[in-house]
Amino acid sequence: MTKRTFVFAIILISCVSFCLTQEKSPGVIAIKGANIIPVVGEDITEGTILVKDGLIVAVGKNIAIPAGAKIIDAKGLFAYPGMIDGSCYLGLQEIGSIRATVDYRETGRFNPQAKTVEALRPDSMHIPISRSNGITAALVAPSGGLISGHSGLIRLVGWTPEEMIIKSSVAMHIQFPRLPRLRRRREAQPREQASKQITELKDILKQARYYQKRKDAAKKNLGLHLPEFNEKLEFLIPVVNGKLPVMISVHAENDIKAAIKFVKDEKLKAIFYGVTEGWKIAKDIKKSGIPVIFGSLNSVPPKWEDGYDAFYRNPGVLAKAGVKFAFSSGSASLAKDLPYHAAKAAAFGLDKKEALKGVTIYPAQILGVDKMMGSLEKGKIANIVLADGDILELRTNIKHVFIDGKDVGTSSIYTELLEKFKKR
């Protein structure tokens, strides 16, 4: 080999390895000149966020930027933590009316063995759309039956499910009766009470406890008969152990009261979902210490006497009573609207700052990942959104989205189709 080729090869190799190292560890990124809303701590005008190896290493006004850092000029932009969707069907549904594309709902009453992360479609067209509106992580939840299965927490980027999963099992989902829908021309349907559900749950949890005890005893004593494998009970063991929280979807006032008692009696860790009549018993919910994730606020309240804005008022009332809360989109195709539920609640009485927390630090806390995400603080993952305004505002444009320190772009099927037909 000639000297020239040798030198050329060295340069080539070092370039390639340089590029490769850029892929593996993006090195240092400095987002400079942004108005930073860290959510935890004071807002910083024209500050800098320093990111290294996917983590935030510094947030402040006058941060020294190390040499070799990639500088992103964020002058005039606002930096927010990436939002977290408290519950959605991203990756589990493409087209609502086509069952072949819907995988968040299993048949049967008890499905504690079902795990949403095992049905995830990383290539779903809805994920980039939600992501490009500033949502960086989401709880993907199951539905259906009485015990629907495990929800998981995912980051909204990744080629395979493995790459997306942050936490494969966040909570066991339980469905109490919904509020009767407002029907035209027909009087309100008589409502199912949750008492039936509670009896069934108590029964199966009791069975799960005995199953576990029996298993443990049999392990210690070869002479004892080992109970036959029971899938449902097996997967409920972490729930009765208190290791896996339950997320109970519950709406009616009396059902919420019954659910609070149920959780206490069974000594479970719990999160409530939906809670549309929560405003009627805010004090009780606060006392119970159970946090609440709101579903989509976009339904017409079925009871006239509750008022046309009952669902919009709800978060404000609960927040004032001191209940820990978060928002969710409850959707796949409309997951990008997460921030607008928070804004709507702010229009009807929720403090604006609390609304923002409801899509950032509060869901992180409720889902047990607040050490990792939910705010722009040193040591947390670099999930950062750069926008030209308030991210809860409808008219705001998201300019950059970073997940784990990497700019994931803002393209989606929306932009792709638009570009395609612009060429006509």
Binding site: S97, R184, S299, S333, E393, L394, F421
Partner: protein, 441 residues
């Protein structure tokens, strides 16, 4: 014939007469006025006399006895128009047959539908309430104002275009409903197109039968064998389409079926006022602009069925920029109360200006419905249909505080809050009484 003219004159005079016992007087002061067509007045007043806007400007003095609303710090826009809903109706779709042009939504108005109230809590003052999309040719729609508390006759807007509902794609071919018994023809897009053509051919034949009869009757030749043709209400409706007395509002999703329907309209010479939903309108923005046919769309409701799976949120803004007349609708008794939120999204998804976004829910639907002379913007001479918001209507943090139609306040949030307070007080008192009695439930 003479009787007919007298009848028309009487009818018209009745309409005029009733329009004179019209509206109320109102002065709205000190608000930011977004007129939509004539710019923004940062701090201005609107004077409405007998339901008509008499003056827009600064420092207007209230004539004696006129009710005054102090809207300091608030935003005033024209009443929102939802050009595609199914509210205020008893029944939506005549599903027993595929072609039902003879049915009229005007016959089944229900002024007691709570959805009307839901609409006014969202600043909506006028809706185009329609037949469902289960039939290739549905029924005649009707435009009403959301005058909650008034009778159904008082709500009808008589000057709007007469519109007939057409539907293409998955809904009329029933591909999303389970098949019970013998499937109803048509079951494919081929059939949907063919059945619409068939009905117009039948209508032409019907019109010809009547023409020949009338001619033969006039002629000197013997009329002994002449039997009066049967008057068929279904054919009469389609004949009115061909005569230009009624326009088509066509529910379609895919770009191709939209273009095919345009071809049909040219084949028979009827007019299309608007395509409903038109998820893929952005793909054929050029054709729509050339043919001057408007669209009435969701901003971002999509992916609920296959034909809506390419319904990108940019479509509304993109088509607007390409010169298509675009309105946003709700087609829902829930979404109807946040049309202003949907309009705001057109700024984010496609870069429309504030004024262009507001037009999507005010003057644009008005033009599509043929009522732009009386509503759709805040101009002197138009009806006093107004929505008052506490923040800019395109902000996510806004809410509607008052909805006014022809100078009369139909929704007042302050009043609503007061009533709620009183209700809560009453409940507390009753609870206390029960406790005193011994606390028995």
């Amino acid at each position: 014939m003479k009787r007919k003219t007298i009848g028309i004159i009487l009818g018209l005079s009745l309409v005029f007469f009733s329009s004179f016992s019209f509206g109320q007087d109102l002065l709205i002061k000190n608000s930011t006025i977004l007129t939509v067509t004539k710019g923004i007045i940062p701090k201005g007043d609107i004077l409405i006399i007998k339901g008509i806007i008499k003056q827009i400007g600064e420092n207007i003095k209230a004539p004696k006895g006129v009710k005054i609303i102090d809207a300091s710090g608030k935003y005033v826009i024209p009443g929102i128009i939802d050009s595609h809903t199914h509210i205020a109706l008893t029944g939506t779709n005549e599903s027993a047959e595929a072609i039902t042009a003879e049915v009229k939504m005007r016959d089944v108005l229900n002024a007691e539908d709570h959805s009307i109230y839901t609409a006014i809590t969202g600043g909506v003052t006028m809706v185009h309430t329609m037949h469902g999309s289960g039939n290739p040719i549905g029924g005649e729609n009707v435009v009403i104002k959301t005058k909650w508390g008034k009778t159904s006759e008082e709500m009808i807007v008589h000057s709007a275009y007469r519109t007939l509902k057409f539907a293409l794609g998955e809904n009329p071919k029933r591909s999303n409903s389970p098949t019970v018994g013998t499937p109803r023809y048509p079951q494919s897009r081929m059939g949907v197109n063919a059945i619409i053509r068939r009905e117009f051919l039948k209508a032409k034949n019907y019109m010809e039968q009547w023409d020949r009869y009338l001619k033969a009757k006039k002629s000197k030749k013997t009329t002994k064998n002449l039997i009066l043709p049967r008057k068929d209400l279904r054919m009469e409706q389609l004949a009115d389409m061909l005569r230009g007395k009624m326009v088509a509002r066509c529910h379609s999703y895919r770009a191709d079926e939209t273009l095919e329907f345009i071809n049909l309209s040219k084949e028979f010479g009827f007019k299309i006022a608007c395509f409903e939903h038109a998820s893929e309108a952005f793909k054929i923005a050029r054709e729509l602009a050339e043919e001057k046919i408007g669209i009435s769309v969701f901003l971002d409701n999509w992916a609920y069925k296959v034909e809506a799976s390419e319904g990108i949120a940019y479509s509304a803004a993109y088509c607007t920029k390409k010169g298509v007349l675009v309105s946003i609708n709700s087609d829902s008794n829930e979404r109807i109360r946040r049309l202003f939120n949907d309009a705001a999204k057109a700024m984010k998804y496609g870069g429309l200006s504030e004024e262009e976004a507001l037009k999507l829910i005010t003057i644009n639907p008005a033009i599509q419905l043929g009522v732009d002379k009386i509503v759709g913007s805040l101009e002197v001479g138009k009806h006093g249909d107004i929505a008052i918001f506490n923040e800019h209507p395109l902000s996510a943090y806004t809410l509607c505080e008052k909805t006014i139609i022809e100078g009369e306040v139909y929704f007042d949030r302050a009043q609503y809050l007061k009533e709620r307070e009183e209700m809560e007080k009453k409940k507390k008192e009753e609870a206390k009484k029960k406790e005193k009695k011994g606390g028995t439930r």
